[in-house]
């Protein structure tokens, strides 16, 4: 039983997953069985115990797949598994299955038996589906072990006799239609009786078939997760459960990456610079120039934590994290145009909701540039208040901001524009944006300054913005500074 229900902000799973980029991960999953497909369609965060179990089994299967103990052929075999769960439900409640259902049940049993044969001795016994030999025997009285079915003559001597008579009758050039109809009727009646008997015998095995379905589903889920881990170079997260001793536990993520972005860069033969981060309980402010990847950091942290709680390997070289009750990400959803409320309104409502959750339970709260759409004077006051309030909770909070004078116990800065690189002004702005990662060092470093990096004008220069604007901007800055000194 789950002690607490895991929740997210935005509360709509689809929105949340899109914001953190998990929708992309979902497109990479290739479950083979109808059970696995259903599982991944309605993914639910796991309990702490289940996470540990999933992660251990994924570790095992990553090894088995990499060493080709579990081959692609074996995995492909799972594609032949048919969904018989409805028929099993019907068996359990004493209903009679028809021939099509029995065919599928037989096919299921034969396919699973085949899979078991291929993987037994290679995976721990407790992962193997139970043997269904009794079920197969009922559905395969002629012991052909072929995945086909009809009401075999072998089921009843009487049926065999009737069919024989029928056949002989048809062979005659002229025969009594009435006699044939009578035989057919007897045959149908007997077939119905046999279907009833078979169903009754099978219902005794309905629990074991259910168990088989559960085991097949679990194998499919673990194999799917293991294949994702291999393909995306994910790693096993260490995850601890919250107890009092962990009050000072820091979430530690080493060299995390955003799988979608990494893939995009790879397709343009560019490198992705992974980023490491330590998040302590309370608030950490993240500052950095525009285009320095702060939003990506927030989204990726959320993705790492979410995937860990779903029992997946995570996109980082190493991750030590804690079992949490909720994840909140308050960032722009690029696909959803704001409806009704202004951007400020909906943002602040979400922050409010995140705060009330953070007070009651352990959360990861990620806020991208709060109050960015309102005036800087009030924004400064609001953000400082938000920082204070979240600092008083036991949650892990990351806030990205461009505002000066935000006071927080911990502050990280994206290193930003590389100093050693000279910008050639001849380069086209579009080209520059496309190659921006060449000019930026995405590393996060601790910072004690209360101001934010001033690189906006530098970036404007980089982009070849109107020189008058740049010149005036610089002049304005100087006036502003000298005024300040005068005031002092």
């Amino acid at each position: 039983m789950e002690l607490s229900v895991f929740s997210t902000i935005p509360s709509k799973t689809e929105e949340f997953e899109r914001t953190i980029g998990f929708d992309y991960i979902k497109t990479l999953l290739e479950p083979k069985t109808p059970f696995g497909q259903k599982y991944f369609k309605h993914l639910k965060p796991l309990s702490f115990e289940h996470i540990a179990q999933h992660l251990d089994d994924i570790t095992l299967f990553v090894r088995l797949i990499e060493q080709s103990v579990i081959t692609q052929e074996i995995i492909k075999e799972f594609e032949n598994v048919v969904d018989i769960s409805k028929s099993v439900e019907r068996l359990k409640s004493g209903e009679v299955l028809d021939e099509v259902e029995l065919f599928e049940l037989k096919k299921y049993a034969l396919v699973v038996e085949d899979i078991c044969e291929k993987i037994s001795g290679k995976v721990p016994k407790d992962l193997l589906p139970p043997q269904l030999l009794n079920v197969i025997d009922i559905l395969d009285p002629e012991k052909t072990r072929l995945p086909t079915f009809y009401v075999y003559d072998t089921y009843s001597e009487e049926l065999k006799e009737i069919r024989k008579k029928k056949r002989e009758l048809i062979k005659l050039k002229t025969y009594d239609e009435l006699q044939l109809a009578e035989l057919s009727e007897q045959e149908i009646r007997l077939e119905k009786q046999i279907l009833k008997n078979i169903s009754a015998r099978l219902s005794g095995y309905s629990n074991i078939i259910m168990e088989s379905i559960e085991k097949v589903k679990y194998l499919d889920v673990i194999i799917t997760k293991a294949k994702l881990a291999i393909n995306c170079e994910l790693s096993k997260p260490e995850i601890v459960n919250f107890e009092k001793d962990f009050k000072d536990f820091n979430i530690h993520i080493e060299n995390m990456f955003n799988p979608k972005l990494k893939e995009e860069l790879k397709s343009k033969s560019k490198n992705y610079q992974p980023v490491s981060i330590d998040i302590r309980p309370g608030v950490t402010i993240i500052v950095g120039a525009n285009m320095s990847g702060k939003s990506v950091i927030l989204r990726t942290v959320a993705l790492v934590q979410y995937m860990a709680q779903l029992g997946f390997f995570v996109p980082a070289q190493r991750c030590k994290t804690i079992f949490l009750d909720s994840i909140a990400i308050i960032a722009e959803d690029y696909q959803k145009p704001l409806s009704g409320l202004s951007s400020f309104g909906s943002e602040i409502l979400m922050i409010n909701e995140a705060l009330s959750k953070a007070k009651l339970s352990r959360s990861l709260v990620l806020i991208d540039e709060p109050a960015r759409t309102t005036n800087p004077y009030e924004a400064n006051a609001i953000v400082n208040a938000i920082v204070d309030e979240f600092e008083n909770t036991s949650s892990y909070t990351l806030i990205v901001t461009h505002l000066d004078d935000i006071h927080s116990k911990k502050r990280l800065r994206v290193k930003g524009l590389r100093e050693d690189i000279e910008f050639s002004s001849s380069e086209q702005p579009e080209k520059l944006i496309e190659n921006i990662q060449n000019y930026i060092d995405y590393t996060l470093i601790e910072s004690n300054e209360s101001t934010v990096p001033k690189e906006a004008i530098k970036i404007m220069e980089l982009l070849g913005i109107n020189s008058q604007i740049i010149q005036k901007s610089k002049e304005n800055l100087n006036i502003d500074r000298s005024r300040r000194y005068k005031d002092v």
Binding site: V82, D98, T148, Y150, R163, R167, I170
Partner: protein
């Protein structure tokens, strides 16, 4: 050898045969039954049919869809709705996950002789899949094509085709002869003799040839006539991946036109006669025979013999009356 024996000989050489009716009730099922009876014992046959929409139409006309005769051991496809009402003892070999309007597709083997109702995949892609599956377990696959849906006769699916015509198309003899000849001509259009680069063949865009090299245009559908007219350059030859319709023909009639196969041609007889276009195909359809059904669904009977004689003057393949 008479036409019937020649036809059966051709059928014996086929791997996947499609029977295409020029109109509903032109005797496809009679043709099918005739062939099945002739081949019983000689070949392991699998029977399939396109969709089930034929039945609904039959109900409208009030003429019951004749069921198809299968012999013991023969394979057939049907759907759940019809399988549950079958009278022939059948072993289930395969049940699809996809569904048709009448339930999932079932492939079964008849354990005794009798009559079954065929039903099958409603789409070309699915039909290709099923036909391939069947050809792996049977020597000959016969597709009962329904309602003039020529797409099932694609050379990429069926290697041989029988055209079924008859009184259901028209009660006017001349009309039947004219239309049958026309469809036969389309089926037997010549294959384009020159090698075409594979990226052109697989492209979804209209391509042009100026005598030296192929050029891919940015026009994806020929139905966009305005764009079609704007294609520049003095080309002599045009490849149209989609439908070749009357209006498209009007725009490009003076060029050499290439289409994938005859199922892409939707030109009316009148336009064909008016423009006499030079059309070539990438894949030729192998028509091995024509069957004529003298009965119309409304109860009329026409004189099939004179039709057959008339057709024989211009068509040099077996032509038979299925009712004789």
């Amino acid at each position: 050898m008479d036409d019937k024996s020649v036809l059966i000989q051709s059928v014996l050489n086929a791997k996947i045969l499609a029977i295409i009716g020029l109109e509903k009730n032109t005797g496809k099922t009679e043709t099918l039954n005739f062939i099945v009876k002739c081949l019983t014992g000689k070949k392991n046959i699998a029977l399939t049919s396109i969709g089930t929409d034929g039945e609904e139409k039959d109900i409208v006309f009030g003429s019951p869809k004749p069921s198809v005769y299968v012999d013991e051991g023969q394979i057939y496809t049907t759907t759940e709705f019809f399988f549950k009402r079958r009278t022939v003892l059948s072993e289930i070999l395969y049940v699809s996950t996809q569904t048709t309007p009448t339930g999932r597709l079932i492939i079964a083997r008849a354990c005794e002789p009798g009559k079954v109702i065929l039903s099958g995949p409603p789409t070309t892609a699915w039909m290709k899949e099923v036909a391939t599956y069947l050809s792996n377990i049977a020597d000959l696959v016969i597709i009962d094509g329904a309602l003039s849906r020529f797409s099932q006769a694609k050379p990429s699916i069926a290697d041989s085709v029988i055209l079924a015509t008859g009184a259901a198309y028209s009660l006017e003899k001349r009309e039947i002869i004219r239309h049958t000849k026309y469809v036969y001509n389309l089926c037997t259009l010549d294959v384009f003799e020159k090698q075409i680069p594979s990226e052109i063949v697989n492209s979804n865009h209209i391509c042009t040839f100026d005598g030296r090299e192929w050029k891919k245009t940015n026009v994806s559908s020929a139905l966009n006539l305005q764009k079609l007219k704007e294609i520049e350059g003095g080309f002599s030859c045009i490849y149209i991946p989609g439908a070749l319709t009357d209006s498209v023909l009007r725009t490009v009639y003076d060029k050499q036109i290439i289409v994938r196969d005859f199922t892409k041609i939707f030109i009316s007889y009148e336009y064909f006669v008016k423009y006499r276009p030079n059309i070539k195909v990438l894949e030729k359809t192998n028509v091995i025979g024509i069957t004529v059904n003298p009965y119309s669904p409304t109860g009329y009977l026409i004189d099939s013999e004179s039709i057959i004689n008339e057709l024989r003057k211009v068509i040099n393949i077996p032509i038979i009356d299925v009712r004789r």
